[in-house]
Amino acid sequence: MHSHFINKDCLCLIDEVELIKDTGVNSCIIDCRFSSPQYSSTIVSLYSQALKEDNTYDLNLLKEQIKNITLSRLNKGNFINGRLHEKSC
């Protein structure tokens, strides 16, 4: 059997949708494992709104909604600034 350790902090890039689109990737993924279905479905719903082509939602407000329901602290991982120990990446 294997055990899996999950980060206590939560990656959240909902307010970076434009930058995500700018990368040119085909899809983005929400990792809903280890979370309750109720919590996860709300998160998925918020991202569905954020990713709409004709999105008129305020992304910061969507992020606030995530902050209100999550038990984790939110971060942006390396997405914005890269890996901290490297001078440039």
Binding site: M1, H2, S3, H4, F5, I6, N7, K8, D9, C10, L11, C12, L13, I14, E16, V17, L19, I20, K21, D22, T23, G24, V25, N26, S27, C28, I29, I30, D31, C32, R33, F34, S35, P37, Q38, S40, S41, I43, V44, S45, Y47, S48, L51, E53, S72, R73, L74, N75, K76, G77, N78, F79, I80, N81, G82, R83, L84, H85, E86, C89
Partner: protein, 747 residues
Amino acid sequence: MTLPELLAPAGDYDILVTAINAGADAVYISGERFGARAFAKNFTLEEIEKSVEYAHLNGAKIHVTVNTLINNFEVVDVVKYLFYLYKVGVDAVIVQDLGIIELIKNLIPGLEVHASTQMTLSDYDCILWAVENNISRIVLPREISVDKIAEMSKKMQESNITMELEAFGHGALCYCFSGNCYISSYNSGRSGNRGACAQPCRKQYKLKYKNYNVGNGYLLSTHDLAVYKGLDKIEDAGVFSLKLEGRMKSADYVGTITNAYRHLIDGDEGDYEKDLSLVFNRQFTDGYILNQKPGQVLGRESSGHEGVYIGRITEKKGDLITIAKENEEFKINLDIGDGIGFKYKDKIKGIYIDNIKEQTDEYIKLETTRNVREGDKVLLSYSKSTHDNLKKFKSETIKQNIPLDLDIKWTEDLRLNINAKFKIVEKGINNENKEEEFSFRYISQTKFEPAQKRPVSIEDIEKQMLKTGSTSFYINNLTINGMPENSFVPIGKLNKIRRTILDKATELLLNYYKPDKKEVRATNKRISQFVKEYKSYTDIPVRNEKLNLSIFADNLELIKMTSKLPIHKYFFDPSFSYYGQEEYFNNIKDLLKEAYSIVYKGKENVDDKLVLVLSSFVSDEEIERISAIIEELEEEGMRIPIMYDTPGIAKSFKNKVYGNHNLNVWNSYNVKNLSDAGFKSIILSSELSHTEIKELVSKYQFIKGNEDVDLNIIIQGNLEVMSRNSNIKWCLITICTVISSIRTVYV
């Protein structure tokens, strides 16, 4: 015992010399970039070249680690670096990044590649993939057992596949499967996959459950591996190379363990187990390789070195203490200069012994001003004699290992006509050695002349020719025929002739390990062309497609609850719901049927919306079982692709295969490699920045050819930071620290 290769680590040139002198068949080192030990001293390019020469003169090999993951901005630099390593005759590079493997395969096929343990290659499909990718050796994960290795070796023999297997034999273990650990990266910005691991698994933690402390200590720390008791099993399993860990360790450490394993492998008698105990270790475990359980591998009491247990203080009178010797495994006699530690509770105070009042087999009396107590444990942490013995390994020495045959005749005009011959033998798999014979003729400029006084004798010539000094050769056969009578040549001239012959033999020896000049020129041309083309890939593609949203789900309820939302793919990972293999296989088919009906609601599957995620590190047997279930479902009209994280898997499944995050995709050549291996969709590494991802996507457009692969990134969630062999299934790292300071990037 005939384990073909003992592979030692070296963090700098002096340590490399020590390792080779102590008996390493090969040494692995790193340059100043692209090595997984960013904080070791490492080797400059000049030092790498010098190391290659020193090793080859001693019949040893040099493996250079190029085992970090690289982004697209580093592609040109890494290619140039690899070309340099190839030119100077490095014997192999150890690589983790699939993109680097792709680049070497296409640009520098003459460079031998070893797949790093960071790739976690452990199933038969991976071996087949490795063969196709010009990989000659797999460095096995430290979680794999000798039984599994033996199984792999047997399968390879039956299929006539030649692949060297390298296994870790001694040194530090990681808590997590190597290459699948992101805890240092996500929590301190220091990526283990970039050689910058902050070693969070050696720190103290408190484990909390519902705000209650349920465990304290070095919860993620493991004992150190030491397989000396099971060397025969490892050899029988078909391991070609036994690897010693420790590129961050000192020359004393590397010298001690290399010397010990050299003798243990060769079957020599000696106190080598005690030597191993004396240098840094976190107490030994036989490891997973010798079938130990996770609980036996973990060392949660301490993450540092204590030393060899001597006994306890039984009496203290003023400064005079009596230590009763209680170690039943090793006989310990202390000497002036030895280092000992006194352990009270968790703390150890150390002294170097400067006096011994009395010593017997049962006790030792000595004086110390340290504040110690009766009952304190006493540990031997430094042996002066062991340290002194290592001095002989520290200076550069060329071992005269290669037999050289010289056949000496004379030309008609009395010059020496010497035919020299030697053979280089390299150990191969299944005792099939690779041999190459070299011979050359040398005719001296110097002529023998009629002797005016004492003529030169055959014995004089023999005496001078046998002096091979500090070269790799010794004279095996020396034949002298047709020596002109009453002739003379100065001894100095004879010495010069010998030196010329040995220089020529040495040149042939060193060139043997280097690539052919014609091939170097052709490679150089390929690389120049590549660099030119790569630099021309500058147009950033414009995205017109909609950005899709997919989710990882581990339960049906979530799939039901989100079924009305615009979900592109459900990556369904039910493995966390089960506590064992049998429970998983008893239920998985029905569960997939149910998930299928929720996702497609009776409609036709046109877009493979439901994807089954396999757990990491599954066995060949499990792959076969899951493959059979997927085929059965397909026969029942349900097509379900799978997602997994080793590169060889795609050919085991008829349906589409998706690449999971642990494939560590960092660059466009990595994507190309996986695309060629049959993957249809890939998750890019979460360690990448926006700029790196953009560059990857951009460059991939130029190299993808006809095949296209969906590129995904994870944008939300508590990400997996570690996976490992264990008895528990998963836990949230809320544990984190009280004593250590794990920093998190908060935004």
